[in-house]
């Protein structure tokens, strides 16, 4: 799931897609989620697109790399070179032009894989102990993911959890905003199982947000009373 808000200052807010997909039916499916400087991530996606579409281009292509590892490597190298070319003007540029990427998908003949790519171009893969990645404004929505995410969840339960997690972030930070893009991938589909956009007026999201707020307040009331007296040292 990804939001769509980008901003250059709070008076310059726009909606841009941060989730991109490439596929060859029956053979491969790749999705990329982006966070960070919009010029950097747009250049990255444009370069990946050009390499995908121009058969004369001899560079490696997302649609022809033999493995997801090679796809992550391609994205990392492209990202690094975009940041370097935009950074030649100043020493603060590395952080200013930075971006972080999640790339997931499957190439026929191997399992689905999920990577997080850093601005430096290197990347890590999700595994048993770290089954999910977050990029961008990660902190507000993280506690509920840590407490409630399970690898065995259904897509429906995972989507519900993501709504709650994004709701926490949306409530706390103006740099994250609706609509939200959501995509699920089932092994060996080589196409999205579900792909949808939750708009600002999405009824499920609004209802869930209210029920969740009430549930948190109820849960808080159910906790044992805090007792100052028994532990005070004054």
């Amino acid at each position: 799931m990804s939001d769509t808000r980008t901003n250059a200052g709070i008076d310059n807010v726009s909606v841009f897609r941060k989730m991109f997909t490439w596929s060859v039916p029956g053979e491969r499916f790749i999705t990329i989620l982006t966070a960070g400087n919009l010029a950097t991530t747009q250049a990255l996606i444009s370069l990946l697109e050009e390499r995908t579409r121009t058969s004369a281009d001899r560079d490696p292509e997302l649609l022809s790399v033999p493995t997801m590892f090679q796809a992550a490597y391609l994205v990392g190298e492209t990202l690094k070179s975009v940041i370097q070319s935009q950074s030649l003007t100043g020493q603060e540029a590395d952080s200013k032009f930075g971006a972080t990427i999640i790339i997931g998908g499957q190439v026929k003949g191997s399992e689905p894989r999920l990577f997080m790519v850093y601005p430096e171009g290197n990347f890590v893969e999700a595994g048993e102990e770290t089954p999910f990645f977050q990029i961008g404004e990660t902190k507000y929505g993280r506690p509920i993911l840590l407490r409630a995410f399970s690898k065995d969840m259904s897509f429906n339960d995972a989507a519900k959890l993501l709504c709650v997690s994004f709701d926490s972030t949306l409530k706390a930070n103006l740099s994250v905003g609706m609509p939200l893009d959501l995509l699920t991938y089932e092994a060996d589909d080589f196409a999205p199982r579900h792909q949808m956009r939750l708009d600002a007026d999405n009824q499920y999201f609004a209802t869930t947000s209210n029920i969740w707020r009430d549930a948190l307040q109820n849960a808080l009331e159910q906790l044992p009373e805090f007792a100052f007296e028994t532990d005070t040292d004054d």
Copy 2:
């Protein structure tokens, strides 16, 4: 409430108090909470202490300033000069040596007041619409505060909420750690109403953390099912 963990890299973790108090019985009570560079905050507190204890020192003193506004101003000016003196060696120093302060308390003759002081030395006051401040690693614990905090809460309910909020942060970030210091102040007491430390083995905190985790998971299960089918656009 404040934690006590400071670190210079994850292999250099120490326990330091980040909550400090000054009082003149029956006349004033002031508490300061610190976040940021430890050298900066220790220098700040030392300078405030020296000015408090040395009667020969002609500088303004926390124990003699006529209002909480003047106290916040004193803290801001002292903080700014500490950061400037430590920053003379490099241009990145402003953020490196930065610190943020919460100062609250009451001087007889006026209401209790609460301020947040920035590294630049300026400060803002809590009010009707912004009744609480956070400093330091604020994001993980913020969503539950936004959803559940109310100005009308009892001290017991507020302490319970703070435990839950800190628990979210403790679970997500190694830079925040037990023990936690907790202080409450009731108008016209001119001394803390409660002052205690919750150690790593605090039974209430551990129990509450577990109950909260279960309650969140239950609350999540009670939310309406997420339905892909009704909204899909693929």
